[in-house]
Subunit: 145 residues, 2 copies
């Protein structure tokens, strides 16, 4: 398996072990992880720290030129907020663990020229299916439904 998707999954499992929503993400530049994060809604009472947002925040302030050569890995299709962050910084490529349990703003990202790869990874799918079954209200809150 892709080592960076594996790192994103490890972030998701870390969040799950903390009692949180199991979604993880890593920002990668030239083969190096600049930031690794996971959803922190439960842990920090956060409305904005989705996995992708947390990875960007953990990476800290970066020159625009770095974002534009980076790849964002995420275990789940990015929602409109996280997709907007991808567009803000001009991240050109996103590797998505799966989009079967949730379809984010992939059409918008593609229309803006972002290259997407969806892996339909079985671990990512199983992790979200279990979580959504067990915590449907928490999941609805996280995606604003």
């Amino acid at each position: 398996m892709d080592v960076f998707l594996q790192a994103a999954i490890e972030q998701a499992r870390l969040g799950q072990a903390e009692g949180g929503i199991p979604i993880g993400s890593v920002l990668v530049h030239n083969g190096k992880v600049l930031g690794a994060g996971h959803n922190r809604r439960v842990q920090q009472g956060s409305a904005i720290l989705h996995g992708e947002m947390d990875a960007l925040e953990q990476a800290g302030r970066l020159p625009t030129s770095v974002y534009r050569e980076s790849v964002l890995y995420t275990t789940l299709s990015p929602c409109s907020m996280c997709s907007g962050a991808i567009l803000l910084y001009g991240i050109p490529k996103v590797i998505i663990g799966e989009n079967q349990t949730f379809m984010g703003e992939e059409a918008l990202l593609k229309a803006r020229g972002v290259q997407l790869t969806v892996l339909q990874d079985h671990d990512c799918i199983a992790m979200m299916e279990d979580f959504i079954t067990q915590h449907p209200e928490l999941w609805s809150e996280d995606i604003g439904e």
Copy 2:
């Protein structure tokens, strides 16, 4: 002047006094401010705490039903990240101080049914014009350019 735009401007000036980027925002529900925030890129080394994101974060976890009856005030036209957050939570109305110094994703928001009011407030415009003149590189970083 609208008391809530004034509150957003006060947030922007607070950020400016901290050495930060002068953009502020408040989330309002039934005439009550649920969260007030300002850009914290400089203060916290944050890549995601734009004014609107900070207001949402300060408001904390809220039921979806509350977001869907809320109004977001912001001193500046919301970028793609902040617009994505508005769409995620289904905030139906955004009051924008100005869009002359920066045009965010207003077309996308309108296309998705968000009601926008742009005030072209002179204080908001002057505040951003001064900031952009004095700190062009910091501004470019904040909008991913």
